[in-house]
């Protein structure tokens, strides 16, 4: 064992050298780094840049432009969830870009005048679009405020591509021995897949009232001319997640 003593000493020295260099063996009761934690942030609800998730519901409002496409309310609606990016321009103005998924459903009333997409009657029938939308907006805020969203008015234009579209209906009783039959006609040619429009939001904090107007037509050029244009207005509520 004696010949191991120099080695042990060397090991002890190495251990000492490897000890934490700062405040070794002491319990830290409080620690703060003002050099880093007091730097004014550039990120926040009223900072140079802010990003947050949001979701909402808008009801299809109004009637179709002609007979043959009466809708059921409030089942005819759009549910959406997205990511908002906002850049502050001045204290009261900002610009932003929203990216969202929106699921729009037109629930068709089943009556004798129905023509869209045909006159067949079902237990339940709808036209559905799952869209990816982009929406640049300009924001005007009201009142001095700190690092909070505050009260604002947004105006925007939006456009989107229908990742999926379908015509679905349900029959009861179903075919054969079934109690019901569900049929989904995928990507019907008469539904336009590009959509665009204008929008406005009036918000306070995380809540906003929302109105969207669709400029694009619902139906494509290949749709029968008898198809009336479906309601263009969507009115609803949006909730920011922050």
């Amino acid at each position: 064992m004696r010949h191991n003593q120099p080695l042990l000493r060397l090991l002890a020295l190495l251990l000492l050298a490897a000890l934490p260099r700062l405040a070794s063996a002491q319990r830290v009761l409080l620690r703060a780094d003002p050099a880093t934690d007091t730097i004014p942030g550039r990120y926040g609800p009223n900072r140079a840049f802010y990003q947050h998730l949001y979701l909402g519901y808008t009801a299809v409002t109004g009637a179709a432009a002609g007979p043959g496409a009466k809708l059921r309310y409030p089942q005819s609606a759009e549910l959406f969830a997205g990511l908002r990016n906002k850049w502050r321009v001045t204290g009261s103005t900002a610009v932003g870009l929203d990216a969202r998924f929106a699921y729009l459903r037109y629930q068709l009333q089943q009556n004798s005048t129905k023509q869209v997409p045909n006159s067949q009657l079902h237990y339940r029938e709808s036209l559905n679009l799952t869209q990816l939308q982009l929406e640049p907006f300009a924001r005007l805020s009201f009142g001095r405020r700190g690092n909070v969203v505050g009260n604002y008015l947004d105006v925007s234009a939006w456009g989107g591509w229908a990742l999926a579209s379908n015509h679905s209906y349900e029959d009861r009783p179903g075919q054969g021995q079934g109690t019901r039959t569900l049929v989904r006609e995928v990507r019907p040619a008469y539904l336009r897949r590009w959509n665009w429009g204008l929008s406005t939001r009036l918000g306070a904090g995380r809540y906003a009232l929302l109105a969207r107007y669709r400029l694009a037509d619902t139906f494509s050029a290949s749709a029968p001319a008898a198809y009336p244009e479906l309601p263009r207005w969507l009115l609803g509520l949006e909730v920011g997640i922050f």
Binding site: L22, A25, L30, G146
Partner: protein
């Protein structure tokens, strides 16, 4: 929302356009005079004489009635007339505001939105407004009730007969529900120590409504337990109670109510204003906490210029990642900002807001217990928040000022900072620490300068801090007279070097250290539990260029300059 009551008469008479709040500043006070003997309370006149201030100055002159009359004619909704700022707050439509800008004598018209002022109170799990009688105090609560003043040196002040006699303290708060009937304040009403009250929201003298936060705060100045224990240090002072904001259902308040109350307090001879309130992120950014942006900060600074000491809670945003720092008016340089300490460790409470103020200015200034026993309707309860640290220090200031009555307010401000347990050490969590009554000892020997308790040793690339053997002893524990004043920790490292009487109530002394850059800004600070003499090693490369390593241990502070 706070302005709603003030709006009612105006909107009833002038319903036409949607009104917004505006702040109208005038150019001059030409032709105005003031009889200070009639305008000011005798106490206010005496305060000015003591502090060698003129009997009045231009900021005390009234606003020109012709200017005021024109604004009233145009808007008919003036909610505040401020002599100090030669301005009025009013409600007007944008068109009326444009007309206001064209009026002769109008310097500026600013939009003045209504925003919330939040009490620096941290609601307990039971909620801020107890709907049931509070539970009886436990022995631990009773011990805390004694320690919240004992830690500041209540015994020393009491022996010297200093309990705020002759001082007038204004308390601005959300309401004083139950104050007039609570036995804790019976001694105040017996000797008619409530000099005046005013509700600046309802414009009535009755302040015994709204929230109980003011009752709790007042109890930390002058409340008394049934066993005669005082919960604050100034039970013999006189008080002005001002309701300046709302809580609960009517939670919001405005800065102008604070300003109006400050002018009122000045006129009624207040020596000290205690305000346990603060604006934070609903209106401001942290970088705007510069003492010049908010009206309350400017009003508080003006109050100090009139000779009043303004004591304000640091706020309870320390654990709020979106804010963390002090609010306003605690950001004003001349406002004594008080942070919260844990009664068991004497260290910063997580929720107590941190400094620095914008621009790296030193805040908070001092600290006191942020957990305290307070009076609430129906009894007493333990509450937490820097709201209660603030009146504890305000009571301390009253006793100190009583001892040196002719001290100018900013000289008192400096003396209070120097009375901090950590002084001259300072950090952004504790300020100068818990003030000690011994620093204001009127008779007997002044507190001895602390003996060195540690040394810096430089070896190679490291500077080490070694505690001296004589400061590293743990003395035999001696039973206190009352268990309430016993140390609260088992570490028992209260040594003779601690010196001050409060050491008997203090837990083991930790070591405070910090790195400061060449401008004095603290770039890093820590508090260490001391368990060995070789207590700290800092690589020299970590010292900022031209900066210092500053260390405090048991009353002794020393710095090591970067080579």
């Amino acid at each position: 929302m706070l302005g709603l009551l003030a709006w009612l008469p105006a909107t009833a008479q002038r319903p036409a356009a949607p009104a917004a709040r505006y702040w109208v500043t005038f150019r001059d006070k030409g032709g105005q005079t003031l009889q200070p003997a009639t305008y000011f309370d005798a106490a206010a006149q005496a305060r000015r004489r003591r502090q060698h201030l003129p009997a009045f100055d231009s900021t005390d002159l009234p606003v020109r009635p012709d200017y005021l009359g024109r604004v009233r004619t145009l808007t008919d909704s003036v909610t505040l007339v401020s002599r100090w700022f030669n301005a009025v707050a009013c409600l007007a439509s944008p068109a009326q505001a444009a007309q206001l800008r064209r009026l002769p004598g109008v310097r500026r018209v600013e939009a003045w939105p209504v925003h919330p002022l939040l009490a620096a109170h941290r609601p307990s799990a039971a909620g801020p407004l107890p709907v049931r009688l509070p539970a009886p105090l436990t022995p631990a609560d009773l011990a805390l009730a004694r320690r919240q003043t004992a830690a500041l040196g209540a015994a020393e002040f009491r022996r010297a007969g200093q309990q705020g006699q002759g001082l007038r303290i204004a308390v601005f708060d959300v309401g004083f529900r139950g104050t007039d009937t609570h036995p804790a304040f019976a001694h105040l009403y017996r000797r008619q120590a409530i000099a005046a009250t005013y509700d600046f929201l309802r414009r009535a003298p009755d302040v015994y409504r709204g929230g109980t936060h003011g009752t709790e705060v007042l109890s930390c100045l002058a409340g008394q337990l049934p066993d005669s224990t005082f919960l604050g240090l100034a039970p013999a002072a006189e008080f002005l109670l001002a309701r300046t904001e709302q809580q609960g259902r009517e939670r919001y308040a405005e800065e102008e109510a604070w300003l109006a109350a400050a002018e009122w307090a000045d006129r009624h001879g207040a020596d000290i204003i205690n305000s346990s309130l603060g604006y934070t992120d609903r209106r401001y950014f942290p970088e705007q906490m510069d003492g010049r942006t908010s009206l309350v900060a400017r009003a508080a600074a003006m109050a100090v210029r009139k000779g009043m000491l303004v004591v304000n809670a640091a706020g309870n945003a320390g654990d709020d990642p979106n804010w963390r720092s002090i609010g306003t008016p605690a950001d004003a340089d001349s406002v004594l900002t008080v942070g919260g300490l844990d009664p068991d460790t004497f260290l910063h409470l997580d929720f107590s807001s941190y400094g620095p103020a914008a621009g790296g200015r030193l805040k908070p200034n001092l600290a006191a217990f942020g957990v305290a026993v307070t009076a609430v309707p129906g009894g007493f309860e333990r509450a937490e928040g820097t709201s209660f640290a603030s009146p504890l220090v305000a009571g301390f200031a009253a006793c100190a000022w009583q001892q040196q009555r002719d001290l100018p307010v900013m000289a008192l401000f400096d003396r209070l900072q120097q009375a901090g347990q950590l002084y001259p050490y300072f950090d952004y969590a504790h300020g100068y620490g818990l003030p000690q009554a011994a620093a204001f000892r009127a008779v007997g020997p002044p507190p001895a300068l602390p003996a060195p308790t540690f040394d810096f040793v430089v070896a190679d690339s490291v500077v080490s801090v070694f505690i001296r053997p004589e400061a590293a002893t743990v003395p035999t524990y001696t039973l206190p007279l009352l268990a309430a004043t016993a140390p609260q920790t088992a570490l028992g490292a209260v040594g003779p070097a601690a010196g001050a009487p409060a050491a008997a109530t203090a837990p083991a002394a930790p070591l405070y250290w910090q790195l400061r850059d060449a401008t004095g800004f603290i770039v890093r600070y820590e508090v260490l539990e001391v368990s060995q003499r070789a207590v700290l090693r800092v690589p020299l490369r970590q010292l900022p260029s031209g900066g210092t390593l500053r260390v405090h241990f048991r009353g002794y502070t020393a710095s090591f300059e970067a080579p």
